[in-house]
C-alpha cells in the first residue's frame, strides 16, 4: 500500500476547514429542545439541542450567555443562532451559539399574560390593597438608572413643583436579566430604613424584552409587600408591565409620576390660605351676628324706658287694690244685714220676751223645771217674772190624766 495515512488530527482539521468554509454552516438558526444543560463555573453553557429524531451539541460562551434574558433549562424549546464548527480534540461538531431566545414569537407575551392572570387571581392587583399616596411626602425615593432621561425628568418636575423636595435615588439597572433583583433590593432598602415616603419606580419605554425585569414575578411580590406606596412609571403610556398593575399608582411617564408624588407647593400654600380666610370670615360673621343680636336686644323698650314696665305694674296694683276694697265692703255689708236679721229673730225667741207675755220660769236650786213630776210637795221653787223673782213653797201637786 503506497497510500500514506494521515493523522486523526489532520483529518479533523480537514473536516473543520471544510465546515468553517461553508457559508450556510457559518450562520445557522436552529430550533429544538434543550437537554443535558450544564452551566460551567466559567460561565459557559453546554447543552444538547434535540428534536424527535436527532440531536446536536451546543456551546454558548459566557460573553454571549451574559446577554440572555432568561435562564435556559432542560426541556425548554428555543431557537439558537450561531455557527457550526468542529472541536478537533474530540472530533465532534457542534453549534457555537451566539444568541438564543425562547421558541415561538408569542412565548414572552404568553408568559406575561399567564403571570398577569395568575397574580390577578392571587389578588396582587386588588384596589383594596393599594396604599394611598401621601399628600405631602418629604422624601421621594426613586428607583431607576442614575443616568438617562428618567431621573432627570423626575428631578426637573419634582423640584419645579416643590423647590424644597428631597429626592433620594437608589440607582438600579432597569433592563437586562437579573435587573429585577437590584430593583427588589432597592425597594427593601427603602422600606427597611424608612428612607422615603413614596417610591417612584421608573424607566423609559422599550420592547417587551427590554421591560422584562418589570414583568418578573419576584418584583411583583416585592412591590405588593412594600409598606411605602409605590408609583410605577415604566414604559410610555401604552406599555403596561406587571409592575404597573401591582403598584399603588401607575403613571404614564416618569414626569407624570413626579407630578403625582410631589404636590405643587404653591397649591398647598393656597389651600392653607383659603382655610385661614374661611376662619377669619366666619369669625367676623359670628361677631357681627352677636353685635346684631346685642343691638336688637338693647333696642327693646324694657332697656330704653326701664320705668315704663314698673309704672304699668303700679297701675295694675292700684286697680287691684280698688277692686279688693270694693269686694270687701260688699261682703261686710252683706254680713251686717244678715246679722241684724238674725238679731231680730233671736230677740223674738228671747225668754224675757216670753216672760213679758205673762209666762214664768220656775227653778229649783237654779235648775229650770219643765214638768210637775220634778217637783215634790214642800219644795221651795223660785219663779221668775219680768219684773222680779218670787220664792214659793209647794203645797199640792196634781197630775194631768193623759200624761
Amino acid at each position: 500500500m503506497d497510500i500514506k495515512p494521515i493523522t486523526v488530527e489532520e483529518l479533523n482539521k480537514y473536516i473543520k476547514n471544510k465546515i468553517d468554509g461553508d457559508e450556510f454552516l457559518n450562520n445557522v438558526y436552529v430550533k429544538g429542545e434543550i437537554s443535558n444543560f450544564k452551566l460551567h463555573y466559567t460561565g459557559h453553557m453546554y447543552f444538547t439541542l434535540k428534536d424527535e429524531k436527532s440531536l446536536i451539541k451546543c456551546i454558548m460562551f459566557k460573553s454571549y450567555a451574559g446577554y440572555l434574558n432568561f435562564t435556559p433549562k432542560d426541556g425548554m424549546k428555543v431557537c439558537v443562532l450561531g455557527s457550526v464548527s468542529v472541536f478537533e480534540r474530540d472530533g465532534v461538531y457542534q453549534i457555537y451559539v451566539k444568541a438564543m431566545k425562547e421558541d415561538g414569537i408569542g412565548s414572552l407575551y404568553e408568559k406575561y399574560e399567564k403571570l398577569k392572570s395568575k397574580l390577578e387571581e392571587e389578588g396582587l392587583f386588588n384596589k383594596e390593597h393599594k396604599k394611598k399616596i401621601p399628600m405631602f411626602p418629604e422624601t421621594i425615593g426613586v428607583l431607576t438608572s442614575s443616568t438617562g432621561a428618567v431621573i432627570r425628568d423626575i428631578i426637573n418636575v419634582g423640584t419645579r413643583r416643590n423647590p424644597n423636595v428631597h429626592i433620594r435615588l437608589i440607582p438600579v439597572p432597569v433592563q437586562g436579566p437579573g435587573a429585577e433583583k437590584d430593583i427588589i433590593r432597592g425597594i427593601k432598602e427603602f422600606n427597611e430604613k424608612k428612607l422615603a415616603d413614596v417610591i417612584i419606580l421608573g424607566r423609559g419605554g422599550g420592547s417587551l424584552e427590554d421591560l422584562w425585569p418589570f414583568n418578573e414575578e419576584s418584583l411583583a411580590y416585592a412591590i405588593y409587600e412594600s409598606e411605602i406606596p409605590i408609583i410605577s412609571a415604566v414604559g410610555h403610556e401604552t406599555d403596561f408591565t406587571i409592575a404597573d398593575f401591582v403598584a399603588d399608582l401607575r403613571a404614564p411617564t416618569p414626569s407624570a409620576a413626579a407630578e403625582l408624588a410631589v404636590p405643587n407647593i404653591e397649591d398647598v400654600k393656597y389651600t392653607i390660605s383659603t382655610y385661614e380666610n374661611r376662619y377669619k370670615t366666619s369669625l367676623k360673621r359670628k361677631i357681627q351676628l352677636m353685635n346684631l343680636r346685642y343691638e336688637k336686644c338693647m333696642a327693646r323698650r324694657v332697656f330704653k324706658e326701664p320705668m315704663q314696665k314698673i309704672n304699668e305694674k303700679y297701675i295694675l296694683i292700684d286697680n287691684l287694690v280698688k277692686k279688693l276694697n270694693s269686694n270687701i265692703n260688699n261682703v261686710l255689708n252683706k254680713a251686717k244685714l244678715k246679722l241684724s236679721q238674725n238679731a231680730t229673730k233671736i230677740d223674738a225667741l228671747s225668754p224675757m220676751k216670753i216672760i213679758a207675755r205673762g209666762y214664768t220660769i220656775s227653778e229649783i236650786n237654779g235648775k229650770i223645771i219643765k214638768t210637775a213630776h220634778e217637783i215634790n210637795v214642800g219644795d221651795t221653787i223660785e219663779l221668775k217674772y219680768i219684773d222680779g223673782n218670787v220664792k214659793a213653797n209647794v203645797m199640792e201637786k196634781t197630775k194631768n190624766e193623759n200624761k
Partner: protein
C-alpha cells in the same frame, strides 16, 4: 425640624375646623378657640412647607451622596 404632626392629618383638621367655624351653633367663646387652633395649625403646616430642605441625593451601598444630573 422633624414635626410631630402629620401633614395629612393637619390638613384634614384644618378642613374640619373650617366646617365647624362655619356652622351656626358654636358659641362665641368656642368660635374664638377654634379660630386660634386653626390659625396655629395652619402656621405649623406652613412651617413644614418652609422648613423642608431641597436635597437630591443618591444612595449607593448604603452611602448617601449629593447627586447631580449634570455630572453624568
Amino acid at each position: 425640624m422633624k414635626e410631630e404632626i402629620n401633614f395629612e392629618d393637619a390638613m384634614e383638621k384644618l378642613e374640619k375646623i373650617a366646617d365647624e367655624l362655619e356652622s351656626e351653633d358654636l358659641s362665641l367663646d368656642e368660635s374664638v378657640k377654634k379660630f386660634e387652633d386653626g390659625m396655629e395649625l395652619s402656621k405649623k403646616c406652613n412651617e413644614i412647607l418652609q422648613n423642608a430642605e431641597k436635597k437630591i441625593t443618591v444612595l449607593i451601598n448604603g452611602e448617601e451622596k449629593d447627586f447631580s444630573v449634570d455630572n453624568e
